[in-house]
Symmetry: C2
Subunit: 238 residues, 2 copies
């Protein structure tokens, strides 16, 4: 790893670069320019070059970056080159979807425990794991050396379960509940908002609809002009 500390904003962009690079690798693309990466990520090329320089990655002038090597460097920087034991607490639809989500294992997240309080769920098998009662949290976190907890419980229970995860020794929490949580300073907390990407879509959808409306108006104007020309009159200013 680079000796220079990686700024927080860069850390947040690395997984996005990684996602794009994995897509490129899937398409058998072997090199990528910072410009091409920039246009697919929506960050300017200079920023990408700067971000990657923190990993000691500078690319080759006129060629760009080696996709596979860059994937390796980013994965290493993000700590994805070894497995992370992860517990999912809350086995409702979202918890079950995440337990079955192929994308986790692919990135080095090993589901080590599934926990819930619902007697209908405890003892059931989900994604090949027996669902444990939350009361077993302390034991399983120690036994499985779980560092990361994924919270998919109802909003009203999220803080209580977060407290239990912290008490059991979990130091990273990913919260899917819409709640605001408080955790001690030594614990990392991230919140997932599933509607973020939808909001990017609506920006473009709104623009598209505005352009269409404008197109229709221009079309109507052109038609009015043509009518006016046919009748030998000057068109009215619009």
């Amino acid at each position: 790893m680079s000796a220079r500390p990686i700024p927080e904003a860069t850390v947040q962009r690395l997984p996005v670069y990684l996602r794009m690079l994995l897509d490129l690798a899937d398409r058998s693309t072997t090199t990528v320019s910072s410009e091409a990466l920039a246009s697919s990520v929506g960050v300017n090329p200079a920023k990408i070059r700067k971000d990657l320089s923190f990993l000691g990655s500078y690319g080759t002038r006129g060629v760009g970056y080696d996709v596979d090597y860059l994937i390796h460097q980013i994965s290493r920087a993000l700590g994805l080159t070894h497995d992370w034991s992860t517990a999912i607490v809350g086995l409702g639809n979202l918890g079950q979807a995440l337990a079955n989500y192929g994308g986790f294992a692919e990135r080095g997240f090993r589901i080590a425990a599934l926990l819930d309080v619902d007697p209908d769920l405890v003892g059931q098998t989900v994604a090949g794991h027996e669902v444990l009662h939350v009361d077993e949290l302390d034991r399983v976190v120690k036994e499985e050396e779980i560092a990361i907890g994924v919270l998919t419980v109802p909003e009203r229970r999220a803080q209580e379960v977060a407290d239990r995860l912290v008490a059991a020794g979990v130091t990273s929490i990913l919260n899917f509940a819409p709640s605001l949580l408080s955790v001690p300073e030594h614990v990392s907390l991230r919140k997932v908002d599933l509607s973020i990407e939808l909001q990017v879509l609506t920006f473009y959808e709104q623009r598209r609809q505005a352009e269409q409306a404008l197109g229709l108006r221009e079309h109507a104007d052109a038609a009015a002009d043509a009518d006016a020309a046919a009748s030998g009159q000057e068109p009215e200013p619009t």
Copy 2:
């Protein structure tokens, strides 16, 4: 809206600012400085001020931005001040979780239709909606004026369903399947990677563990020093 076009990178950051601002509003915070917003978002303050200037929002020197007004401006820019009819295709665990996800309705995404091909699901009620067969897509997209399709089908079916959404007139697709999809140029496509935030967590988790290992080594060094001092010897260089 501002006359200046909003850059794509800014568009992608606006939902993140919005999420933070909504958290602040939940905490009854009425004003926020670009510095405070920056530190919670992980973007530098100058960048945030520039991003917000595209919305015509400049804040007040020494006071910052009015939280509620900024929420309104960003929501308007993102097209969130009116409702968007949305269809979810694929009512497995993830589709059902999204159908029940409170965060969508809150941001103006109205679930207008749920569709699947599974005979066990078609006709069932999920989140208050009858699940329709995908063959009804054309009809329901027109009747409900659906602009946005959310894809939560298995990977192998994602492209086929995306094609059907496009053929039915849907112009924005949010893809939760891990597949790479091709869509015509006039269609906006965003992919959600549920492991992105986990990867930010592992960065910090990895650093924390490295620091701990270093702390243990320093502790061991200090203990060795103390031992050496107690025995009247110089400690060995480590």
